[in-house]
């Protein structure tokens, strides 16, 4: 359910002028709910950034997510796949 809840929060933030990016675990749910900007991550629930304590790996995920915010030629709902960028 977390996939949906963060997406609904993102929708409200975007409505009020705050650009968002959400992480998502389940592609099928992301496609059904349609958050404005999303990065699908290939990790189990509870491990959104990968392995605990893996600072370098976690930073890569976060950089990939935040990079979506800098892309101008995209339109909503926009879903990217981590590792395919």
């Amino acid at each position: 359910m977390c996939n949906q809840t963060v997406s609904l929060a993102a929708a409200e933030l975007e409505k009020r002028g705050i650009a968002t990016v959400v992480l998502q675990f389940m592609k099928d749910i992301a496609l059904k709910v349609g958050p404005p900007r999303a990065l699908w991550v290939p990790f189990p629930h509870g491990f959104a950034l990968g392995n605990p304590g893996d600072t370098s790996g976690q930073r890569k995920v976060l950089n990939a997510a935040l990079s979506i915010l800098s892309k101008e030629s995209i339109s909503p709902p926009h879903l990217e796949i981590y590792g395919a960028i």
């Binding site: 359910m1 809840t5 609904l8 933030l13 349609g34 509870g46 930073r59 976060l62 915010l69």
Partner: protein
Amino acid sequence: MASSNELSLSVRLFLKAYRWRKIDPTSWTPTHKPLSECKLAIGSSAGFVLPGQEPFDDAFKGGDPSYRWIPSNTQVEDLIETHRSQSFDHSGLEKDPNLGFPLDHMRAFEQEGIIGSLNARHVSFMGSITAPGRFISKSAPEFAQALVEDEVDVALLVPV
């Protein structure tokens, strides 16, 4: 990789029958300036609270729609995870709360100039909400408006 196979049969059946809330129309705010000039806030659905804050209520029918503010100077070790779902492995969040609330990383990004600044507060809520009516109508508009008043430009939202 997350897949429905990691979930129990009862959860899989629930998710299959669940009527997901399609965001329609999709709200959209273009980014007007570089990330290095943006103020960022974190949103996390891990159900984190700080000592002294009320834990999320796991008995709330449909999922607790409330939220908590987490100050930016919080030590992540102080975060207490109160996510009600038993359908995922909580051990990662216990070892490293940054997995669900990447505060240390965002502080580093601020220091390194990757983001312009980090907002003074961030929002924590319960992701396990099956009936999100009150979250949509009350909580999300409240914290979104507060972040607008904080002059936040961008938000990073992390599920668990």
